[in-house]
């Protein structure tokens, strides 16, 4: 698996004008959650034009299905089932998650915009990350909750 370069992954998506938000552990990390992760989860808007832009971005990153050796030439139609798909890319692992437990899809989730230098991205709020982890309830999700609760508390303390 290639080393994660989250900046390059996000840059590629932004450069290709993909409508998406960051979900999962990287969304939480970017908001101060002290629990690290080594892959990036994104939730694209479920719409054909966006799927085509997403495919172009992934092609630019030489994406291949997780565990696969060779890059595949993706098309927008490859995403139209809107199932979660995992890729390895030249900038590290990327999971495309059009729908997530408890929180729904791109149009449903609460997000905030974060400036990341030359570009900005939308990420789901800590409350949404917590809701998703609580709903999923797998051991790894439950284990992530204490740090997420702490991050939510730290964010609340910073608000005037």
């Amino acid at each position: 698996m290639t080393e994660l370069d989250p900046e390059r992954l996000l840059h590629a998506l932004v450069d290709h004008e993909v409508e998406f938000c960051v979900i999962g552990a990287v969304a939480a990390w970017l908001q101060g959650n002290p629990s690290v992760t080594l892959d990036l989860d994104v939730m694209p808007r479920r719409e054909l034009d966006n799927a085509e832009r997403l495919a172009a971005a992934l092609n630019a990153l030489a994406a291949r299905p997780r565990g696969g050796e060779r890059a595949v030439e993706l098309e927008g139609a490859d995403f139209l089932g809107w199932k979660a798909q995992s890729f390895d890319t030249d900038a590290g692992p990327l999971d495309v998650v059009p729908l997530a437990a408890a929180i729904g899809g791109f149009e449903d989730v609460a997000t905030i915009e974060l400036a990341l230098g030359e570009f900005s991205v939308r990420v789901i709020t800590i409350d949404e990350v917590i809701a998703s982890k609580e709903e999923l309830g797998r051991p790894k999700d439950t284990a992530a909750l204490p740090a997420l609760y702490a991050t939510r508390e730290a964010l609340r303390r910073r608000k005037p």
Partner: protein
């Protein structure tokens, strides 16, 4: 429900340290962590 959960104070302090960084700095830190982990993995 999570509403009534009292988070661990140590975890809150860790989060406050990370909140002292900008989102851009946090993104760079994540990349750095991934790189160091990769290097460490090759040395084992």
């Amino acid at each position: 429900m999570s509403t009534g959960v009292i988070p661990d104070q140590h975890d809150v302090e860790l989060a406050e340290v990370l909140l002292g960084l900008t989102p851009e700095e946090r993104l760079q830190a994540l990349r750095r962590y991934a790189h160091l982990r990769e290097v460490a993995g090759k040395q084992i």
